[in-house]
Amino acid sequence: MSSLLVIALACGIVGQTGTIAYIAGESQESYRLTLIDAATGETTPVGQGDRDAYPRWSPDGTHIAYQSKQPEGTGIRVACPDSGEDKALAHQFSWNYEPRWSPDGRKLAYSSDGDMAPLQAILVYDLDTDTETIWGGTHRGLIRPVWLPTTDLMKALDPDDQAAAEALGLMELSAEAEERGVLLAVGVGGAPPNMAADIYIVTPTLAVPLLPFLMPDSYRYVEWCVEPDNDGRQIAYESNDGGDRELFVLGRRGITNVSNHPAADWNPVWAPDNNWIAFESFRQGRRGIYRVLISTANVFPVAVDAYYDCWAPDWSPDGEHLVFVSDRTGAPQLFIADKEGKTQQQLTKDAFPALAPTWRPDTN
């Protein structure tokens, strides 16, 4: 692996272009949203530099939403790298985490301590009107929201029997989702010590658990990291169903375990073509990056080593490369690999950590 790295550095054969947003800083207190040009390595600080975290590009690639410190707690900010604007959202509550853009780029969803802390709520911020709304009706304990790009997948959940669908509230859920958009989130529920986490479909007034429609015993497992594909026709998520943490895909063929290995598999990230998922796994000991072809569940290593970790992969817009974090040189730094892992290039070379990379969408 290291010889490949040297070759890549010497010849520049990775040759990837584009802009990557990431978090850089010596310590948590100084973490700052930063941009790097993948071709030149030139960096530009963008964020406010006070515990910045979780950058996410808007679908049109013009803005970055990120989590940062606010006077009381953490807030969501939206930066426009081209204009230099960096705006804090006007929050109702002190603690707000991990923003995700709506498919049209006009709303942001995030977790918040909300009105019933420590049970978190899902909040949606309308950037056109600067208004913030709690979603999921009165349901609390919802975290890590992500937008479902379409309602196609929800149609597959509808029972044939209309009376049953009405009893389950699906008609109302579908109607509201069509009109106002829909989120997926993880709902933490149950009473200690038997807490569990399930995937929920969330609209402004409703929050309905997803998996019980398809898998009646799903309540026994703890789900996490739900991620719809780019068209909203498949959902990847993690579950400890099967004994260890595995990646599952819910799609038109039902639910499939696509990682299926005794070691833990984490953090699915869809490729732009929706055929592949990059993920983290411990199947060779340390945390490494792999990719899986969804149609066959064949897994291929991308960046793996016995003596260091690789994590936080994100795909290039053309799906040919992955940016990720590795501590192979000491402090965590950004690296780029082609999707097969044959060539790898160190992108940042700082004494302090570089974390959470996300590739700017190519809208040309």
Binding site: Q28, R51, A53, T74, V222, R287, Y307, W311, G330
Partner: protein, 349 residues
């Protein structure tokens, strides 16, 4: 009996120590030897193998007042330019406390209280749990060092095998406070394993004085996992920590008892860390402090079968001993070991 080569090395080592081979760097931060150290020691029996991490290959030895025992080492390069030595302790090294001595072509170093050689590792033993020492605080009329010295003395006069010191070692993480903390730490005659707390978070200082935030060690059949719960303002899933937690937790699977020790547990801590430690492969026990009080009904871990053990703050003069045997781990009543000359604080910090 030391052979000729060892004797020559020992004489050279003795001369070096006489000439003032300083422990750590002149400012007290870790030097040539990163681990083991007085906050992350190794516990072995004679003939055991242990790992040391140094900044460059060096000649290594165990040293105490009774002599020096050279170590044979196998070397491996680690990320970040560090070198790992896989050392075998000599079969004839007597039980006791040792400094790890290292000399390379350019540097020498001498980490005190780094290696503890036990006659045997007991199956039944006692742990001292000390937390929230807050060196540097002026919250009580009595001086911080005097309070913590009394707590450490209670550890020294106990039958404990080792002490776990779970964070908020200092009041605000300043270098001077870490130096003062080490001054009182080194009065402890037992191995002391430390982890950082939210008060130790001044950039980089904890790492400079004690090294890694996340580590594991074995004591006989029992596995111990030390980690930093991080500042809850920050999502810790961005950093290497989650990967290391899983990696070490997996290594500790065969343990009779798996025991986590950290500064704080809070239901809002990073979800990934909670999945690793309490859901997918639950620890048997988690020991922590932070809250400066006894555990109440509102405390504990809601995820499964991990038993929480919470201990009040040492800066309030308190510590706890914990019994370990084949039946499990049992916290004993909190011990008040120091007078404060005032009422204890009751703050969640």
């Amino acid at each position: 009996m030391m052979h000729y080569k060892s004797l020559v090395f020992s004489l050279a080592l003795g001369c070096a120590l006489c000439q003032g081979a300083d422990a750590r760097n002149p400012d007290g931060t870790l030097g040539l030897i990163r681990t083991p150290n007085n906050g992350l020691p190794v516990i072995i029996t004679a003939g055991d193998v242990f790992e040391a991490t140094v900044t460059s290959e060096a000649t290594l030895a165990l040293v105490n007042d009774n002599g020096a025992w050279p170590l044979e080492a196998e070397w491996k390069s680690l990320p970040g330019g560090l070198q790992q030595a896989r050392c075998q302790a000599p079969d004839d090294v007597p039980p006791g406390e040792y400094a790890l001595y290292a000399t390379s072509s350019e540097h020498e170093d001498n980490n005190r209280r780094a290696v503890f050689v036990f006659e045997t590792i007991p199956e039944e033993y006692l742990i001292a749990h000390v937390t929230d020492t807050h060196i540097g605080t002026t919250r009580h009329p009595r001086e911080d060092m005097a309070i913590i010295a009394d707590v450490i003395e209670a550890v020294n006069t106990s039958e404990a095998a080792f002490a776990l010191i779970t964070g908020d070692l200092t009041e605000n993480g300043a270098e001077a406070q870490f130096l003062r903390f080490m001054e009182v730490l080194d009065t402890c005659r037992l191995p002391t394993f430390v982890v950082p707390g939210n008060h130790d978070r001044m950039p980089g200082n904890y790492e400079r004085f004690f090294g890694p935030h996340t580590y594991r060690f074995w004591f006989g059949a029992d596995g111990y996992l030390g980690f930093d719960t991080k500042d809850f303002l920050i999502a810790d899933s961005m950093t290497p920590q989650d990967g290391r937690l899983h990696y070490y937790r997996r290594q500790l699977r065969p343990a009779r008892w798996s025991v986590g020790f950290t500064h704080r547990y809070d239901v809002t801590m990073g979800m990934r860390a909670q999945l690793i430690l309490f859901v997918d492969d639950p620890l048997d026990y988690l020991m922590y402090g932070h809250y400066h009080r006894e555990a109440g009904d509102q405390d504990g871990i809601p995820w499964g079968r991990t038993t929480a053990i919470m201990t009040p703050a040492a800066i309030n003069g308190q510590l706890r001993f914990i019994e370990v045997d084949s039946q499990g781990i049992r916290p004993l009543e909190t011990v008040t070991a120091a007078s404060l000359q005032a009422a204890p604080d009751h703050v969640d910090d």
